[in-house]
């Protein structure tokens, strides 16, 4: 279900927004517009939708308009033109009073520099949003304590913000936002001011929190790793425009423009790619239909030194090595049964991240098998396919293992 919808949104700062809009539409650059009209283009024709319960990350470098965009959503900045709707209510046309109501009931914002009130205790900061709504005092305190509990700050309610570390201050900011029980959480570079370890902790906590509270979250960041980690979908922005919208994988694997490509090229792909992205078609035989002779032929054909064995129901049984198959042929035996090596250690599921597969593949001299939950063989991973995956951002799963190695498998 669509929670929030943004249509053709523009935000231009400066004296002649209409002239600047015309220039944007005729394809002039931000700098040209600034020189000619003195207007700074913040957001230039952005449209997207946010689904209920998803984490949508808006990502871009500084100056890309992402913070301006998020402030247009709750009209801290008045959009120059365009339409924003939440639950079918059009925010952009609201008068001040109904806008205040929407801000009180639907939105809550978390800020980069925490924006806590220095003269209030942690608890007083957390109930700030409720106080604004003139909520009942006891109710206010109780809900704030619950929110503090949710972010793991129980016992800190009487401290002042300056007595807390950055990470804890941002938890207070998060608790303050959660206390008003908003539908939509706007997080403006919420973790960017924190050091990497704390940031990573808070990202994990946000994800686990999200699995419990199921809010719609719009998260602004300039950090691609952060975007990839927490985003269900990512909106990539540049110069006030949307460059690409998609799931983290779509953005990484199919960058639509050169800009996105450049943006994602330094990503640590081993954290993004999973087994299914780098697996290739296995050399396989079916037991007991195929004997050692057909196994040997299959291996010879593909130049491989081992092959996978499955049963009639396509369940994975293990692998057979070429020298053992040859021995069976020489002995005149017709069943592979005695030489199938069960392969428990080198089996992974299709969603295993490449990061976890790498150590296995380095240790093993034979391919890693990818099986689904009912143990059906989906493919194999070999060193070559991993390399190809890293270089090309994934491999064609119909490709064959031996396309990347010279008979080493």
């Amino acid at each position: 279900m669509i929670k929030l919808k943004i249509q053709n949104l523009y935000k231009i700062f400066g004296p002649h927004p209409q002239r600047a809009m015309k220039m944007i539409n005729s394809g002039k650059s931000k700098k040209e517009i600034l020189d000619k009209t003195g207007c700074a283009v913040g957001v230039a024709g952005v449209s997207f939708e946010v689904n209920e319960g998803e984490i949508l990350v808006i990502m871009g470098l500084s100056g890309s308009g992402k913070s301006t965009l998020v402030r247009c959503i709750n009209r801290l900045f008045e959009p120059t033109s365009g339409k924003i709707t939440v639950d079918n209510d059009e925010i952009t046309s609201m008068d001040k009073k109904s806008l205040r109501e929407v801000r009180r009931n639907k939105f809550a914002m978390v800020f980069q520099r925490f924006a806590l009130l220095p003269h209030r205790t942690v608890l007083e900061n957390v109930f700030f949003g409720l106080e604004i709504q003139s909520a009942d005092k006891d109710d206010m305190k109780q809900r704030s304590m619950e929110a503090l509990d949710l972010v793991g700050l129980k016992g800190w309610e009487d401290y002042y913000p300056a007595q807390l570390s950055g990470g804890m201050q941002q938890r207070v900011g998060l608790a303050r936002a959660l206390a008003v029980e908003p539908d939509i959480l706007l997080m403006d570079e919420a973790f960017s001011a924190l050091d990497p370890l704390i940031r990573s902790d808070l990202q994990d906590e946000l994800l686990s929190l999200q699995s419990r509270v199921q809010k719609t979250i719009i998260f602004i960041t300039h950090d691609l790793d952060e975007a990839l980690k927490i985003g269900d979908r990512i909106v990539l922005m540049k110069d006030g425009k949307v460059v690409q919208i998609g799931t983290p994988e779509e953005i990484l694997l199919n960058p639509e423009t050169e800009y996105v490509e450049r943006f994602v090229e330094n990503v640590n792909m081993t954290r993004i790619l999973t087994a299914k992205d780098v697996m290739v078609r296995p050399v396989k035989v079916t037991h007991p239909k195929d004997g050692p002779r057909s196994a040997l032929r299959a291996m010879k054909e593909k130049g491989s030194s081992s092959c996978c064995v499955q049963d009639r129901n396509r369940k994975f049984l293990g692998i057979v090595r070429s020298e053992q198959a040859r021995k069976l042929v020489d002995e005149g035996c017709t069943s592979l049964e005695s030489v199938i090596e069960p392969y428990e250690k080198n089996k992974v599921s299709p969603d295993t991240p490449l990061q976890e597969i790498l150590p296995i593949i380095i240790d093993a001299s034979y391919p890693v098998a990818v099986v689904d939950e009912s143990n059906v063989l989906l493919g194999v991973i070999v060193t070559g396919s991993v390399l190809a995956g890293l270089v090309e951002g994934g491999v064609d799963s119909n490709a064959h293992a031996t396309d990347w190695n010279n008979g080493g498998v």
Binding site: R71, N74, R100, R103, A108, M109, A115, I132, A162, L186
Partner: protein, 300 residues
């Protein structure tokens, strides 16, 4: 307003020669005719204001004077002990006892009354003006040069026009003191609010706060240390102006200094001067420590 122009035109024609070859710009004459016009038309209003204020000042004064010096000193010392440190409380007690000993007690309380009233009036007018200047850019552009003018014009100059409006005495003194001492309150209230981080006001707005809620719950509390610094300055300036205002009959310690000048008695002047200094230090420490205590809570 026609009156002013009528008075003004003949003046222009009969300008005296200053030796520059260019007729003198009759600025002083213009100001005088404006003030004459204002006194002619409004002095009845200001005089009645004056009567009300005079009775206010006198009654506050008599209330303070009704209190026995010993009781007064004990109360003030305890107050200082509560909001400040022991050392300053000790200084307060000794200082006030010394003033009493010098025989300047009633002059001192008289001056204190004027300072309290001037400061209160300065705050009542100044804080809202400071808030308005912070929130409204256009008003800010108007008020800044006015404040510059108020502060740089020599303070004595205000004394003269005060007399036709309020007559000789304490009310004129309060009036000129407010004009002279109010600017820091306006400026620092404005500055304090302007310095509130944007994210804090954004946070308030994003939770749906009204303008008044943002002002009362975020902007003013966060600006408080700066506002208090302004109030402290206003009190100090009030004290110095109240002394100068003795020239138009303000009474109190200033009158003692003034008498000493006329009689060429340096010892007497010095005694009154010391009393002013002691009063200034006590007032300064009290107000500084109010803002200090507010800050202290936020630091570890």
């Amino acid at each position: 307003m026609l009156n002013i122009l009528n008075n003004f035109i003949p003046i222009l024609n009969s300008s005296s020669d200053t030796g520059m070859g260019v007729p003198k710009v009759p600025l002083g004459d213009l100001i005088e005719s404006i003030i004459n016009y204002l006194t002619d038309n409004f002095s009845s209003v200001t005089k009645s204001v004056s009567v009300v204020m005079r009775s206010g000042i006198e009654s506050l004064n008599s209330v303070i004077d009704m209190v026995h010096p010993v009781l007064f000193i004990i109360v003030v010392t305890l107050l200082v002990l509560y909001i400040s440190r022991k050392r300053i409380a000790l200084f307060t007690a000794i200082g006030l006892l010394f003033i009493w000993n010098l025989g300047l007690w009633y002059e001192t309380t008289n001056t204190l009354t004027l300072v309290i009233i001037s400061t209160l009036l300065s705050l009542i007018v100044g804080v809202p003006l400071g808030i308005a200047a912070a929130l409204n850019k256009r008003f800010n552009r108007i008020i800044v040069p006015v404040l510059d003018f108020m502060q740089t014009m020599p303070a004595f100059v205000y004394l003269i026009p005060a007399i036709p409006f309020f007559g000789l005495g304490a009310v004129s003194a309060v009036f000129t003191t407010v004009i002279f001492a109010m600017p820091p309150t306006i400026r620092l209230t404005c500055l304090g609010i302007e310095q509130v981080p944007v994210e804090l006001t954004e946070a308030a707005e994003s939770f749906g706060a009204t303008g008044a809620q943002t002002l009362l719950k975020v902007q003013l509390p966060v600006a408080m240390p700066t506002v208090m610094a302004g109030i402290n300055q206003t009190i100090m300036l009030s004290l110095s102006m109240v002394v100068i205002a003795a020239m138009i009959g303000a009474g109190g310690l200033g009158a003692e200094v003034w008498k000493a000048i006329q009689r060429l008695k340096p010892g007497m002047g010095f005694e009154a001067g010391i009393a002013v200094v002691i009063l200034a230090i006590i007032l300064d420490r009290i107000t500084k420590n109010i803002s200090f205590r507010k800050n202290e809570k936020n630091k570890f």
